[in-house]
Symmetry: C2
Subunit: 402 residues, 2 copies
């Protein structure tokens, strides 16, 4: 009759020893559902571009700190490394269920342009499950007063059909989370007007996962009809890195040193990508990068669209205008394409949206692509208006593989 252990799941893998790190890769569909519709992982074996600059931004975000400006870069570490994506495993934090991907990368020598152009445009499927729903929890859902109110369409789409001959119609649901722990819920259809509810078992789940109003839960049904459930916490309460292990300086320098050492020795290195914490993806398929850098003509004043995730876990495009171009950090990362575009957004509610994006983040509205292959030098010489000196010099200095 202990206090805390009682809130564990009722069945399943609780008997296993305290295994703090998931060993194997998790259920891919559920992982992607938790990660959200925008998260696309490059396939294993493909070539990717790794941006140490973006990696340090994720580390800084995890520690809720600004990027340390006083850490110098390694003189030989370029702002981007072309790598072979040697392996990807999907994980979830044991305590928070936060999803993250472990990637092992092997730096490869720069490819010549011919090869680069011949690389296929690798299609990355989001692998969002078709049979799933996601609901942001209300105060009533998380209070101790009652259960969970299931949106009608959601229940009808992913839950097994109820026997409406019963009064009231009810069934027991079993769903597994990312750690393969099973949770039991009583699913009942009652009330006036009628509605779908989760009652018994729901509060145990809320307590164990420490869910609060504003967090979201999602249910999916796999191709065998098995239910799975995951959570997406509100941004404000994402896991915070304990600062008690390494100083942020050491973390920052560790990212750079690991990449630098791997690049110098062409050896494997390992990074973690936290899709819901990282400000931007910092491992990009070569084809996506190349398509944006080589084929996309951008200029100040150009209009574009960009995809964002809505609160209801679908996607929506916002419109914006390029207001400037230039290095985000000209001292430490000169001639980097990382978030080199300064942008403004059409909608006034755009306070949260980033003021700097990368070329491969945006979709141009008009005349998007030039014929390929066309030398960069030729295009840079073409007269175009509305560009300042900084931009011009950046374009001149930049070359594809630097």
């Amino acid at each position: 009759n202990e206090r805390l252990p009682s809130v564990g799941p009722s069945v399943g893998s609780m008997a296993q020893p305290a295994e703090k790190v998931e060993k194997r890769s998790l259920n891919s569909e559920l992982w992607h559902a938790c990660a959200g519709p925008l998260v696309l992982l490059p396939p294993v074996g493909s070539r990717v571009v790794y941006f140490p600059q973006g990696h340090t931004e994720q580390v800084a975000a995890s520690m809720q700190k600004e990027v340390d400006a006083h850490i110098p870069n390694y003189p030989n570490l370029p702002s981007r490394l072309v790598c072979l994506l040697d392996n990807v495993t999907l994980h979830a934090d044991i305590e928070t269920d936060e999803v993250y991907a472990q990637m092992t990368l092997i730096p490869v020598p720069p490819t010549n342009e011919k090869d680069a152009h011949m690389s296929p445009d690798i299609e990355m499927r989001s692998r969002q499950p078709t049979e799933y729903f996601c609901k942001t929890l209300t105060a009533s859902d998380t209070s101790t007063h009652g259960g969970f109110s299931i949106p009608r369409r959601a229940a009808e789409k992913v839950f097994p059909p109820l026997d409406y001959a019963q009064i009231p119609p009810a069934q027991e649901l079993k769903a597994r989370d990312l750690h393969d722990q099973e949770w039991h819920f009583r699913h009942i259809y009652r009330g006036q007007p009628r509605r779908h509810l989760l009652t018994t078992g729901w509060s145990v789940f809320v307590s164990a996962k420490r869910l609060q109003a504003g967090d979201a839960v999602l249910f999916t049904r796999d191709n065998k009809g098995q239910l799975q459930l995951g959570i997406r916490r509100q941004n404000r309460q994402q896991r915070v890195m304990p600062s008690s292990v390494l100083s942020s300086d050491s973390m920052h320098i560790g990212v750079l040193a690991a990449a630098n050492y791997a690049a110098a020795t062409s050896s494997r290195f390992t990074i973690f990508y936290n899709p819901r914490q990282s400000p931007s993806e910092f491992v990009i398929p070569v084809a996506k990068y190349q398509k944006a850098i080589c084929h996309l003509q951008v200029s100040v004043g150009m209009r574009f669209r960009m995809v964002f995730e809505t609160e209801e876990s679908s996607v929506r495009r916002y419109m914006g205008t390029i207001t400037g171009m230039g290095d985000l950090d000209p001292i430490r990362w000169p001639n980097s394409h990382w978030r080199s575009l300064k942008v403004g957004w059409d909608e006034s509610t755009a306070g949260e949206r980033k003021k700097r994006v990368s070329l491969w983040d945006i979709e141009p509205l008009t005349f998007p692509y030039v014929l390929c292959p066309q030398p960069l030098a030729f295009r840079a010489k073409r007269p175009r208006g509305g560009r300042d000196e900084e931009t011009d010099s950046m374009l001149k200095k930049s070359s594809f593989w630097s």
Copy 2:
């Protein structure tokens, strides 16, 4: 009427915004009480010896991993750095209350032996509070069935005296934790036979701190008569570093790179010392290091004592014998004095005690010190038995500041 927020403290600094990292240094007495009687921090402004090797061991322990053997050391990073201890701040993890110290170090040029010998033997006071008690929680203490049974002497020593004219004698206690949050308890003296108990308020504290049987709580009374309380968790459930931020390789390399960069530029760097997680102290006062290395004659077969912490938070000495001497990691850290002694312990219950310790960890039993100063070379040439070739060559190669 929310589920989780209700278990917070009833008064005090809950209103402050979600501040994940303690800014200022905490109450020193309470911190030291939580850290335990063996933890002695060198004073700010003194010179210390920093061992990157020991630092990586702490990081590995925090991640519950072995030290990565495949990470090479930086060619110019010595196994120890003499540093000025520029600053020390005391902290506690927001989620677990685990105590840790942040130290900023500035590498300084090696001092000549004369200066080293003249440096005073800095006395480090443990600053354990005199009025305090520590109790390991029983199953009854942590169950939901009842409150907390206070040891009689403990209650009489640190709690305000009860008015025994009341029936039953009782009072309300207020105590602040390391985060300056206040907790309220009903302290009552009742039962047959009579005993001291904490009833109302205790279960809230246990839930909020997620205490389990085996964890320890401690109460202290400061010089103003204010009560403070802290916790010491059982080793098995110490905070585990989330592996989702940096790979262990990057952490490991980050420690080395930060120290290497600071040593090369004589600039400040920051480390965290987790006294209850780290296998050994890796920042040692110069005087302590010097006293052990320069003055202490050790040889295989020598008997020694070493201090350990008991379960009741006092100290006790165990006896042992030196069984070997030599580098722990001859490849990456040659001629390091870090845990260079292989030892065996007298008591058969010594399974948990370390098999390797450093010179400054032990207290020799007989004829401990030679007159000082006496050249190392001379002592190394003196004939002594029972030493193998490895030890001899190590002693010959080693010099004070390498």
